[in-house]
Protein backbone atom coordinates (compact mmCIF):
# COMPACT_ATOMS: atom_id res chain seq x y z
CA UNK A 1 0.00 0.00 0.00
CA UNK A 2 1.31 3.43 -0.94
CA UNK A 3 0.21 6.89 0.19
CA UNK A 4 0.70 9.88 -2.09
CA UNK A 5 -0.71 13.33 -2.81
CA UNK A 6 -3.46 13.48 -5.40
CA UNK A 7 -2.96 15.37 -8.63
CA UNK A 8 -5.04 16.27 -11.68
CA UNK A 9 -5.32 12.76 -13.20
CA UNK A 10 -6.99 11.67 -9.93
CA UNK A 11 -9.86 14.15 -10.35
CA UNK A 12 -12.47 11.58 -11.58
CA UNK A 13 -11.78 9.46 -8.47
CA UNK A 14 -11.91 12.52 -6.20
CA UNK A 15 -15.25 13.54 -7.73
CA UNK A 16 -16.65 10.09 -6.90
CA UNK A 17 -15.22 10.38 -3.40
CA UNK A 18 -16.81 13.78 -2.74
CA UNK A 19 -20.18 12.55 -4.03
CA UNK A 20 -20.06 9.39 -1.90
CA UNK A 21 -18.92 11.31 1.18
CA UNK A 22 -21.67 13.90 0.70
CA UNK A 23 -24.28 11.14 0.45
CA UNK A 24 -23.10 9.81 3.83
CA UNK A 25 -24.64 6.41 3.12
CA UNK A 26 -28.01 7.89 2.14
CA UNK A 27 -29.72 8.57 -1.18
CA UNK A 28 -29.23 12.33 -0.78
CA UNK A 29 -26.07 13.84 -2.22
CA UNK A 30 -26.37 17.29 -0.67
CA UNK A 31 -25.03 19.41 -3.56
CA UNK A 32 -27.16 17.50 -6.09
CA UNK A 33 -30.35 18.09 -4.07
CA UNK A 34 -29.62 21.67 -3.01
CA UNK A 35 -28.93 22.85 -6.56
CA UNK A 36 -31.42 20.49 -8.28
CA UNK A 37 -28.76 18.81 -10.43
CA UNK A 38 -28.59 15.32 -11.90
CA UNK A 39 -25.58 13.08 -11.28
CA UNK A 40 -23.94 14.04 -14.58
CA UNK A 41 -24.29 17.77 -13.86
CA UNK A 42 -22.91 17.39 -10.33
CA UNK A 43 -20.01 15.30 -11.62
CA UNK A 44 -19.18 17.96 -14.24
CA UNK A 45 -19.50 20.72 -11.63
CA UNK A 46 -17.10 19.04 -9.19
CA UNK A 47 -14.70 18.18 -12.02
CA UNK A 48 -14.58 21.84 -13.07
CA UNK A 49 -14.09 23.02 -9.49
CA UNK A 50 -11.30 20.52 -8.75
CA UNK A 51 -9.60 21.41 -12.05
CA UNK A 52 -9.48 25.06 -10.93
CA UNK A 53 -7.18 23.92 -8.11
CA UNK A 54 -8.21 26.53 -5.52
CA UNK A 55 -6.94 25.52 -2.08
CA UNK A 56 -8.52 26.19 1.30
CA UNK A 57 -11.75 24.20 1.28
CA UNK A 58 -10.88 20.58 0.43
CA UNK A 59 -11.74 20.90 -3.25
CA UNK A 60 -8.22 20.97 -4.67
CA UNK A 61 -6.36 17.77 -5.71
CA UNK A 62 -3.20 18.49 -3.65
CA UNK A 63 -5.36 18.68 -0.51
CA UNK A 64 -6.14 14.97 -0.92
CA UNK A 65 -4.01 12.04 0.15
CA UNK A 66 -4.53 8.88 -1.91
CA UNK A 67 -4.02 5.29 -0.84
CA UNK A 68 -2.99 2.97 -3.64
CA UNK A 69 -3.31 -0.76 -3.31
CA UNK A 70 -2.45 -3.31 -6.03
CA UNK A 71 -1.59 -0.29 -8.26
CA UNK A 72 -5.19 0.92 -7.95
CA UNK A 73 -6.55 4.04 -6.31
CA UNK A 74 -8.28 2.57 -3.27
CA UNK A 75 -9.06 5.45 -0.91
CA UNK A 76 -8.69 9.17 -0.39
CA UNK A 77 -9.09 11.85 2.23
CA UNK A 78 -8.95 15.65 1.99
CA UNK A 79 -7.54 18.04 4.59
CA UNK A 80 -6.81 21.74 4.87
CA UNK A 81 -6.01 24.32 7.54
CA UNK A 82 -9.12 26.43 8.02
CA UNK A 83 -8.64 30.05 7.01
CA UNK A 84 -4.96 29.60 6.16
CA UNK A 85 -5.29 31.73 3.03
CA UNK A 86 -7.34 34.40 4.79
CA UNK A 87 -10.85 33.29 3.82
CA UNK A 88 -13.06 30.77 5.62
CA UNK A 89 -13.65 27.57 3.64
CA UNK A 90 -17.42 28.07 3.40
CA UNK A 91 -16.87 31.33 1.52
CA UNK A 92 -14.32 29.74 -0.84
CA UNK A 93 -16.75 26.88 -1.55
CA UNK A 94 -19.63 29.28 -2.17
CA UNK A 95 -17.55 31.40 -4.52
CA UNK A 96 -16.50 28.30 -6.48
CA UNK A 97 -20.09 27.08 -6.70
CA UNK A 98 -21.34 30.45 -7.97
CA UNK A 99 -18.52 30.59 -10.51
CA UNK A 100 -19.28 27.19 -12.03
CA UNK A 101 -23.04 26.92 -11.41
CA UNK A 102 -23.82 30.46 -12.47
CA UNK A 103 -25.49 33.24 -10.49
CA UNK A 104 -29.01 32.26 -11.57
CA UNK A 105 -28.73 28.68 -10.31
CA UNK A 106 -27.30 30.00 -7.04
CA UNK A 107 -30.12 32.51 -6.62
CA UNK A 108 -32.74 29.85 -7.39
CA UNK A 109 -31.28 27.59 -4.70
CA UNK A 110 -31.33 30.11 -1.86
CA UNK A 111 -34.25 28.47 -0.06
CA UNK A 112 -32.40 25.14 0.01
CA UNK A 113 -29.14 26.83 0.99
CA UNK A 114 -30.84 28.60 3.89
CA UNK A 115 -32.37 25.34 5.09
CA UNK A 116 -29.04 23.48 4.83
CA UNK A 117 -27.31 26.27 6.76
CA UNK A 118 -29.49 25.55 9.80
CA UNK A 119 -27.15 22.70 10.75
CA UNK A 120 -23.89 24.38 9.76
CA UNK A 121 -21.17 24.15 12.38
CA UNK A 122 -18.47 26.82 12.19
CA UNK A 123 -14.99 25.51 11.45
CA UNK A 124 -12.23 26.74 13.75
CA UNK A 125 -9.61 28.99 12.08
CA UNK A 126 -6.11 27.53 12.14
CA UNK A 127 -7.36 24.00 12.79
CA UNK A 128 -6.88 21.05 10.42
CA UNK A 129 -10.14 20.10 8.72
CA UNK A 130 -10.65 16.52 7.49
CA UNK A 131 -13.27 15.86 4.80
CA UNK A 132 -14.26 13.59 1.90
CA UNK A 133 -13.00 10.41 3.53
CA UNK A 134 -13.75 7.61 1.07
CA UNK A 135 -12.65 4.04 0.41
CA UNK A 136 -13.71 2.03 -2.63
CA UNK A 137 -16.08 -0.75 -1.47
CA UNK A 138 -13.74 -3.63 -2.39
CA UNK A 139 -10.94 -2.16 -0.27
CA UNK A 140 -13.00 -1.50 2.86
CA UNK A 141 -12.11 -3.17 6.13
CA UNK A 142 -8.36 -2.66 5.69
CA UNK A 143 -8.10 0.55 7.70
CA UNK A 144 -7.09 2.65 4.70
CA UNK A 145 -9.09 5.72 5.75
CA UNK A 146 -7.44 5.60 9.18
CA UNK A 147 -3.99 5.44 7.57
CA UNK A 148 -4.77 8.49 5.40
CA UNK A 149 -6.22 10.50 8.29
CA UNK A 150 -3.21 9.69 10.51
CA UNK A 151 -0.86 10.83 7.73
CA UNK A 152 -2.73 14.14 7.42
CA UNK A 153 -2.55 14.55 11.23
CA UNK A 154 1.17 13.78 11.25
CA UNK A 155 1.92 16.31 8.52
CA UNK A 156 -0.22 19.00 10.22
CA UNK A 157 1.38 18.37 13.62
CA UNK A 158 4.84 18.87 12.07
CA UNK A 159 3.81 22.38 11.03
CA UNK A 160 2.51 23.22 14.51
CA UNK A 161 -1.23 22.72 13.98
CA UNK A 162 -2.68 22.08 17.42
CA UNK A 163 -5.82 20.08 16.60
CA UNK A 164 -8.04 18.61 13.92
CA UNK A 165 -11.77 18.61 13.29
CA UNK A 166 -14.11 16.35 11.32
CA UNK A 167 -17.76 17.06 10.62
CA UNK A 168 -20.14 14.24 9.74
CA UNK A 169 -23.82 13.43 9.66
CA UNK A 170 -25.20 11.76 12.77
CA UNK A 171 -26.64 8.85 10.75
CA UNK A 172 -23.14 7.76 9.73
CA UNK A 173 -22.28 5.51 12.66
CA UNK A 174 -19.60 3.63 10.71
CA UNK A 175 -17.70 6.85 10.00
CA UNK A 176 -18.00 7.95 13.62
CA UNK A 177 -16.52 4.66 14.85
CA UNK A 178 -13.70 4.91 12.30
CA UNK A 179 -12.84 8.44 13.47
CA UNK A 180 -12.97 7.35 17.13
CA UNK A 181 -10.39 4.66 16.30
CA UNK A 182 -8.05 7.41 15.10
CA UNK A 183 -8.60 9.31 18.35
CA UNK A 184 -11.32 11.81 17.48
CA UNK A 185 -13.89 12.52 20.17
CA UNK A 186 -17.39 13.97 19.85
CA UNK A 187 -17.38 17.71 20.57
CA UNK A 188 -20.86 18.82 19.60
CA UNK A 189 -23.83 18.52 17.32
CA UNK A 190 -26.32 20.75 15.57
CA UNK A 191 -29.74 19.62 14.40
CA UNK A 192 -32.91 21.08 12.97
CA UNK A 193 -36.56 20.02 12.78
CA UNK A 194 -36.96 21.72 9.39
CA UNK A 195 -38.71 19.07 7.23
CA UNK A 196 -36.94 20.40 4.14
CA UNK A 197 -33.65 18.98 5.38
CA UNK A 198 -35.02 15.48 4.82
CA UNK A 199 -35.11 16.15 1.08
CA UNK A 200 -31.76 17.86 0.61
CA UNK A 201 -29.35 16.43 3.20
CA UNK A 202 -28.51 12.89 4.28
CA UNK A 203 -29.67 13.66 7.84
CA UNK A 204 -31.01 16.48 10.00
CA UNK A 205 -28.17 16.55 12.52
CA UNK A 206 -24.49 17.26 11.98
CA UNK A 207 -21.75 16.18 14.40
CA UNK A 208 -18.40 17.77 15.19
CA UNK A 209 -15.52 15.54 16.25
CA UNK A 210 -12.06 16.78 17.21
CA UNK A 211 -8.62 15.49 18.11
CA UNK A 212 -5.80 17.23 19.94
CA UNK A 213 -2.56 16.90 17.98
CA UNK A 214 -0.23 18.08 20.73
CA UNK A 215 -0.93 15.34 23.25
Amino acid sequence: MQVRRANKPDIPFLVDAIMEAEASGSQHISYREIFCLNDRELRDLLHSILSEDIQGCGWSPPEFLIAEQDSETAACCAAWIEGAGGLPSHIIKSQLLVEFLGQEKWENSKENLNAASEINIARTPGILQIESVYTQPRYRGNGLSGILIREHLLQAAKTGTRSAEIQLMKNNGAAMRAYQKVGFILKGEKGSHNNKLGTILPYHTRLLMAKDLLS
Binding site: I54, G85, L87, H90, S94, W106, K110, S117, N120, P125
Partner: protein, 80 residues
Protein backbone atom coordinates in the same frame (compact mmCIF):
# COMPACT_ATOMS: atom_id res chain seq x y z
CA UNK B 1 -13.14 57.83 -7.47
CA UNK B 2 -10.58 57.83 -4.65
CA UNK B 3 -10.38 55.27 -1.87
CA UNK B 4 -12.24 57.48 0.62
CA UNK B 5 -15.15 57.81 -1.80
CA UNK B 6 -15.08 54.05 -2.46
CA UNK B 7 -15.18 53.41 1.30
CA UNK B 8 -18.16 55.76 1.65
CA UNK B 9 -20.08 54.02 -1.14
CA UNK B 10 -19.12 50.61 0.22
CA UNK B 11 -20.72 51.54 3.55
CA UNK B 12 -24.08 51.89 1.79
CA UNK B 13 -23.64 48.52 0.07
CA UNK B 14 -22.71 46.82 3.35
CA UNK B 15 -25.70 48.39 5.13
CA UNK B 16 -28.01 47.12 2.39
CA UNK B 17 -26.59 43.58 2.35
CA UNK B 18 -26.35 43.15 6.12
CA UNK B 19 -29.51 45.19 6.81
CA UNK B 20 -27.79 47.24 9.47
CA UNK B 21 -27.57 51.00 9.81
CA UNK B 22 -24.48 53.02 10.69
CA UNK B 23 -22.02 50.20 10.02
CA UNK B 24 -18.43 51.29 10.47
CA UNK B 25 -16.31 50.14 7.56
CA UNK B 26 -12.61 49.63 8.22
CA UNK B 27 -9.85 48.27 6.00
CA UNK B 28 -9.16 45.51 8.52
CA UNK B 29 -12.78 44.28 8.62
CA UNK B 30 -13.35 40.61 7.68
CA UNK B 31 -16.24 38.15 7.64
CA UNK B 32 -15.46 37.40 11.28
CA UNK B 33 -16.39 40.95 12.33
CA UNK B 34 -20.03 40.82 11.18
CA UNK B 35 -22.19 38.06 12.60
CA UNK B 36 -24.47 37.96 9.55
CA UNK B 37 -21.54 37.56 7.12
CA UNK B 38 -22.21 33.98 6.00
CA UNK B 39 -21.72 32.39 2.57
CA UNK B 40 -25.05 33.63 1.21
CA UNK B 41 -24.43 37.22 2.30
CA UNK B 42 -20.88 37.06 0.97
CA UNK B 43 -22.08 36.15 -2.52
CA UNK B 44 -24.76 38.84 -2.30
CA UNK B 45 -22.15 41.36 -1.14
CA UNK B 46 -19.84 40.65 -4.09
CA UNK B 47 -22.77 40.91 -6.53
CA UNK B 48 -23.98 44.19 -5.00
CA UNK B 49 -20.46 45.65 -5.02
CA UNK B 50 -20.05 44.74 -8.69
CA UNK B 51 -23.33 46.45 -9.52
CA UNK B 52 -22.72 49.53 -7.35
CA UNK B 53 -19.24 50.20 -8.77
CA UNK B 54 -19.77 48.91 -12.31
CA UNK B 55 -16.95 46.39 -12.05
CA UNK B 56 -16.63 42.62 -12.55
CA UNK B 57 -14.38 40.50 -10.35
CA UNK B 58 -12.65 37.33 -11.52
CA UNK B 59 -12.77 34.23 -9.31
CA UNK B 60 -9.14 34.43 -8.19
CA UNK B 61 -9.49 38.15 -7.49
CA UNK B 62 -12.41 37.53 -5.14
CA UNK B 63 -10.58 34.68 -3.45
CA UNK B 64 -7.45 36.78 -2.98
CA UNK B 65 -9.26 39.40 -0.88
CA UNK B 66 -8.43 38.94 2.79
CA UNK B 67 -10.32 41.93 4.17
CA UNK B 68 -12.33 45.02 3.22
CA UNK B 69 -9.10 46.91 2.54
CA UNK B 70 -8.27 44.45 -0.25
CA UNK B 71 -11.77 44.96 -1.66
CA UNK B 72 -11.32 48.75 -1.64
CA UNK B 73 -7.94 48.43 -3.37
CA UNK B 74 -9.34 46.09 -6.02
CA UNK B 75 -12.28 48.37 -6.79
CA UNK B 76 -9.87 51.31 -6.99
CA UNK B 77 -7.58 49.44 -9.37
CA UNK B 78 -10.44 48.33 -11.61
CA UNK B 79 -11.97 51.80 -11.83
CA UNK B 80 -8.59 53.27 -12.68
Amino acid sequence: MNKEEITGNLKSVFEKVFQEKDLTITREMTAENIEKWDSLRHIQLITEVEMAFGVKFRLREVLSMKNVGDLIDLIHAKRG
